[in-house]
Symmetry: C2
Subunit: 113 residues, 2 copies
DNA sequence: TTGACGCATGCCGATATAGGCATATGATGT
DNA sequence: ACATCATATGCCTATATCGGCATGCGTCAA
């Protein structure tokens, strides 16, 4: 088996640094492909391909505007990522008091099963 | 070029669902490889390989304990992920008032350059 | 020492990638 | 109809993956 498709998952889609850059840029508003490519210093086909992936996972929406195609952000898919990572907040804070409490809770929960 | 190495980046490391599961499990405390494998229904070599990746990006620490090897969480590396995704909160909330304000700010900032 | 256990690794196969370049597709204006 | 601009795609190369299976390596117990 190979690695999961970049289009299988938001987590996979944002594993690519340039795709993350695209998303960041799009926070400032819709943009056509060429402009994105220019601002990020990448070729147009490259930008198009990344956008294709982002579109596939729903992080980006496109709209035809004359002979251009405007790409806009749809960040809803990033919420699960934020929440998932947020589930580790107690741990990276290394607040071991609370961490201890958490582990104690878990142990108790187990015994009560 | 191929896809970036899973060990190049925390974003790449957590692109794998099973690795995410491992991290979640480890919140409840250190565990030896076999136990992890058992709880997640995967073979031992598979678990070991995933742990190797997680270790490479620093999301996991290991400690020798007799003939076992205990793996523990080190979630600090997940903080950047949380923060990056958090940077899109305004957008997935679709609070377009604030979004508008944000975009206006950007425009103004540009003009003032 | 010998055996058993816990884990890491190596090799293989199948697959999907990212990027480059050329080109197809589509809409626009003349 | 035609030339042009904006994008999307296709093909190709090199690479890194994930999973399975067998096996190597270190540790402990008898």
């Amino acid at each position: 088996m190979a690695r999961a498709a970049t289009t299988s998952d938001v987590f996979n889609a944002i594993a690519e640094p340039q795709r993350r850059e695209i998303l960041v840029l799009l926070r400032a508003g819709e943009r056509p492909v060429t402009e994105l490519a220019g601002e990020l210093g990448m070729t147009q086909p490259r930008a198009s391909k990344h956008l294709r992936v982002l579109r596939a996972v729903g992080l980006v929406r496109d709209r035809k505007a004359g002979r251009q195609r405007m790409y806009g952000l749809d960040a809803r898919g990033l919420r699960p990522v934020h929440e998932w990572a947020g589930g580790f907040e107690l741990f990276w804070n290394e607040s071991f008091d609370r961490l201890d409490a958490y582990v104690q809770d878990l142990k108790q929960a187990r015994q009560e099963e």
